[in-house]
């Protein structure tokens, strides 16, 4: 244990920060294991304790290395992360509790419903938790898609082979020219049209979440590809690439290990974090504005914070029953701000 701690101390600061962020974001997946247990209270308590301890440990380490800015980001992003962990562990319970029901609509916060219920009768706490999970999933899928298509595009853009480079340029320019909003809406519209027409014949499963993620991710391809192209071109013109080639290092290894992994990964992580935040924002905005576009439940749609806000428009317009809209506003604001602060603090530390 002691030597493990010593190894931890010996890592350079930049690596520690990168790992802290990656652990913070990837933590909820551990709680999927808890689905095998059947007791709701058990799942809930275990998730809360472990997640709480993990976040506490990360915050402690972060503050110990005097990165208060990073700590602030993590603190603000907790609602999203916590919701995701709880939802991953205990999905059936919360989805049941976020069912629509006329009987329980518009109840003030009380013992039974901790945050009250909204206009449709859903338990607001449950909707926040499920909404958090969906926001997280969409943003994560966005980031992964963008990385998956963006990294090869960036590599091909900086290639010396003119044919590869022109193909990559065409693809990147396509996504640069077509407006992001336009692209996402078209894809979501097409999907929803198909889902709605198929809704009668069978229960359409949850494809809205990954499709939304992929759409936003594809349209964000240029941001990753261009940054990578820039860095790779700069690095390739340096002497050490020639020196490595003269030492018989394989060109593919030079590209993937020396250039990409060692020199570009920090920048890519920063871009990924900002992309995560941007995806959260876009997803909430589109859910609010185009409520139908992001799916009704039953046609493969999913519950998201934007959607909750959209349904509660009366509350915003007339200023009544504010307990309905305050929770989604607070968690949305806090999550997006938190993730952006995480990205900013990473940028400050990793870009020497």
């Amino acid at each position: 244990m002691d030597e493990w701690l010593k190894k931890l101390e010996a890592m350079p600061l930049k690596t520690k920060l990168m790992w802290a962020i990656v652990i913070f974001i990837a933590l909820p997946f551990i709680f999927l294991i808890l689905r095998v247990v059947s007791s709701h209270t058990f799942r809930l308590t275990v998730t809360l304790t472990i997640d709480g301890l993990a976040i506490g440990a990360l915050l402690y380490f972060v503050i110990r290395f005097r990165n208060l800015y990073l700590g602030l980001g993590m603190l603000l992003a907790i609602p999203m992360q916590l919701s995701t962990s709880i939802a991953f562990a205990d999905f059936p319970f919360f989805i049941d509790h976020s069912a629509v029901s006329r009987f329980t609509s518009l109840q003030v916060p009380s013992g039974d419903y901790l945050l009250g219920t909204d206009y449709e009768g859903r338990d607001i706490l449950a909707t926040i938790i499920i909404g958090g999970m969906h926001a997280y999933l969409v943003a994560l899928i966005t980031t992964l898609t963008a990385m998956l298509v963006g990294i090869p595009s960036g590599i091909f853009l900086s290639s010396k082979n003119r044919y590869i480079q022109s193909v990559a340029t065409s693809v990147t320019q396509f996504f640069e020219i077509v407006p992001q909003l336009f692209f996402v809406l078209i894809i979501m519209g097409v999907y929803n049209f198909w889902a709605a027409s198929a809704a009668g014949s069978r229960l359409v499963s949850y494809y809205s979440v990954p499709i939304a993620g992929i759409a936003i991710g594809l349209s964000s391809l240029p941001s990753i590809a261009r940054i990578l192209e820039n860095r790779l071109s700069l690095l390739k013109s340096q002497r050490f690439v020639t020196a490595l080639k003269s030492s018989n290092v394989k060109p593919s290894k030079i590209l993937l290990y020396n250039l990409l992994w060692k020199n570009c990964v920090a920048e890519l992580l920063i871009q990924a974090t900002f992309l995560f935040g941007a995806a959260l924002l876009l997803e909430s905005a589109l859910g609010y504005a185009f409520e139908i576009g992001f799916g009704d439940l039953g046609t493969g749609g999913y519950l998201s914070w934007g959607k909750i806000l959209a349904e509660a428009r009366r509350s915003i317009l007339f200023g009544e029953n504010i307990y309905v809209i305050i929770p989604p506003i607070i968690v949305t604001l806090s999550s997006i701000l938190g993730v952006n602060i995480l990205g900013d603090s990473l940028a400050k530390h990793l870009r020497s």
């Binding site: 050490f240 020196a243 020396n258 060692k262 020199n263």
Partner: protein, 552 residues
């Protein structure tokens, strides 16, 4: 603070009890240094690499980030205390009173702006309302002073110039405006001897016309100081400064033991190698270059033209033979070497390594064999190492890709770290934390580590101080005379003095063609081509070459 305020007879530069500490480690890079320079003096700062000279210059220029460095003491320039000034306040002083030529000026050029625009920018900073004709004239003057012809510079990007030409443009950047105080940080490093002598003549001329009043130069090269006729020499060692008197004092009774060693080495290096070995004919040559022609492709829409840079080169290298490629910078020496090492391709003619054409080493096994036997020392050490890996990781990656086992790598480290005056602690540092000379020595380690049969050394003595140069020369000689595995070397240099000590055959290259080829004797005593004679003259002026065998 107007530009027209002339300096009175006070000291141009006065430094009092200056200590500069690196905040991270607390190491005093400059340790309680005090000196002063009067108007009109020519002062030299001598020292080993890593002694703190560049840091001292940066502090004088006000370029040290207070985030990383802690400065105590004071610096006065023309009577004004510049120590704690904000950047805004330093600006009028920097452009008008002081200019600095940095180490490796080639790297201070912006790669996306044409060279003449950069020079114009440098003038406009100091004289914002200069007329275009005056501007043009100024930059042409500066370019001529630095030793270049205007056609080379006007309308070109930095990448289109050779290494030496870029170096001279970097120097021209600092000569565009008259400056009362000119600082120069190792300006002669990558320059060939002819250009160095011309640069020294220019500086003397500018001093006599009043363009430069005070000249403060850092160098590790005593020959430059001799040619410059420095009145005062300061010696710096591990942060501390010592007055060493004028250049004669330095040569005759050096005041510090390290200085004594440098002086002693200078004479040793210049002793001519009297025993010229016979040209050994051991059968098939190791490297054979025949009918070699090379030019860069000029891509135009209709035809692909090649502007030939190297024409019609033929030579052979036997096992255990050292061949020198000598010539002005920009004549094509590095191009030939780059083609042999497969960095550039598309040459016409034939290059055989071990009787096999170099394009035939294609499989993984064959290319391992090729690169293990052919190693290169690059010209500029600045970016020869991956900036995100420590030196140890860099070297281990290179060595293991060449097929060396862990045991062999350990052996290479053990043998060479001491020889090259490097410490084990440096292995765990990132390249950006090491000085230029240290990086170059690590590059030497990488080249020698795999015990290659053929070494291509592209201006290896450039960024090394005298002590390191001596270790390199002794390493090269040792490997050459190794009976079991004699190493051959293609040494590219502009310094005919050093070359005369090591090499069996000399090829003088001028403008892409072989001007003369022969043994040292033939070249030095019976040369016919004027390019060779220019080089010998320059070497004589710098004192790096003398005909008789000198006693120490």
């Amino acid at each position: 603070m107007t530009q027209n305020q002339t300096l009175n007879d006070k000291e141009t530069l006065r430094v009092e009890n200056l200590s500069i500490l690196l905040k991270k480690t607390g190491l005093a890079v400059v340790d309680n240094v005090s000196f002063s320079i009067k108007k009109g003096e020519t002062v030299a700062l001598l020292g080993e690499s890593g002694a703190g000279k560049t840091t001292l210059f940066r502090a004088v220029m006000g370029l040290l980030a207070s985030y990383d460095w802690e400065t105590t003491g004071s610096i006065h320039i023309a009577g004004i205390k510049t120590n704690g000034l904000l950047p805004k306040q330093m600006e009028p002083i920097r452009g008008h009173f002081m200019r600095c030529i940095f180490q490796e000026p080639a790297l201070s050029l912006n790669p996306s702006i044409k060279v003449d625009h950069q020079l114009k920018e440098a003038v406009r900073v100091v004289n914002p309302d200069i007329s275009p004709e005056d501007l043009n004239q100024r930059i042409l003057e500066a370019v001529a002073n630095a030793g270049l012809t205007p056609e080379v510079v006007v309308g070109r990007y930095p990448r289109e110039l050779s290494g030496g030409q870029r170096q001279r443009v970097g120097i021209a950047l600092s000569l565009v405006c008259p400056s009362p105080l000119l600082l120069a940080d190792e300006p002669s490093n990558s320059l060939d001897s002819v250009t160095v002598t011309e640069l020294i003549k220019t500086i003397k001329k500018l001093q006599s016309t009043g363009n430069i009043q005070t000249f403060f130069i850092i160098t590790h090269d005593l020959s430059v100081l001799q040619a410059l006729e420095c009145e005062r020499v300061l010696f710096m060692d591990e942060g501390k400064l010592y007055e060493a008197g004028n250049i004669q004092n330095v040569l005759q009774n050096p005041v510090h033991e390290k200085l004594a060693r440098i002086v002693a080495l200078k004479s040793i290096i210049n002793i001519k190698n009297d025993d010229v070995p016979e040209r050994r004919n051991l059968g098939a040559p190791l490297v054979k270059v025949s009918n070699f022609n090379f030019g860069y492709l000029q891509k135009s829409f209709f035809q692909k033209k090649r502007n030939s840079i190297v024409k019609d080169v033929n030579f052979e290298i036997q096992k255990g033979e050292f061949i020198a490629l000598v010539g002005n910078s920009g004549c094509g020496k590095s191009t030939i070497a780059s083609n042999i090492t497969k960095e550039l391709n598309g040459f016409e003619g034939e290059i055989l390594f071990d009787s096999k054409p170099i394009n035939a080493f294609n499989t993984r096994k064959e290319s391992t064999e090729f690169f293990r036997s052919l190693q290169i020392i690059f010209q500029e050490p600045a970016d020869t190492f991956d900036p995100s890996l420590t030196m140890r990781q860099n070297l281990v990656e290179c060595f293991s890709s060449m097929g060396m086992t862990v045991g062999e790598i350990e052996e290479a480290f053990n043998e060479l770290l001491d020889r090259l005056n490097l410490e084990e602690t440096m292995l765990d540092k990132l390249p950006k934390k090491l000085s230029g000379g240290q990086k170059q020595r690590f590059a030497l380690l990488r080249a020698f580590g795999s015990k290659p049969a053929m070494m291509i050394a592209d201006e290896p003595f450039n960024n090394l101080d005298m002590i390191a140069q001596e270790s390199l020369i002794s390493l090269l000689k040792e490997r050459k005379d190794d009976p079991a595995n004699p190493m051959s070397c293609l040494l590219i240099s502009h310094d005919i003095g050093v070359v005369s000590k090591l090499c069996d055959q000399v090829l003088v290259i001028d403008d892409g063609k072989i001007a003369e080829m022969g043994t040292i004797d033939q070249i030095l005593y019976h040369s016919t081509h004027k390019a060779t004679q220019r080089l010998i003259e320059a070497a004589k002026m710098l004192g790096t070459y003398s005909k008789e065998k000198e006693g120490v």
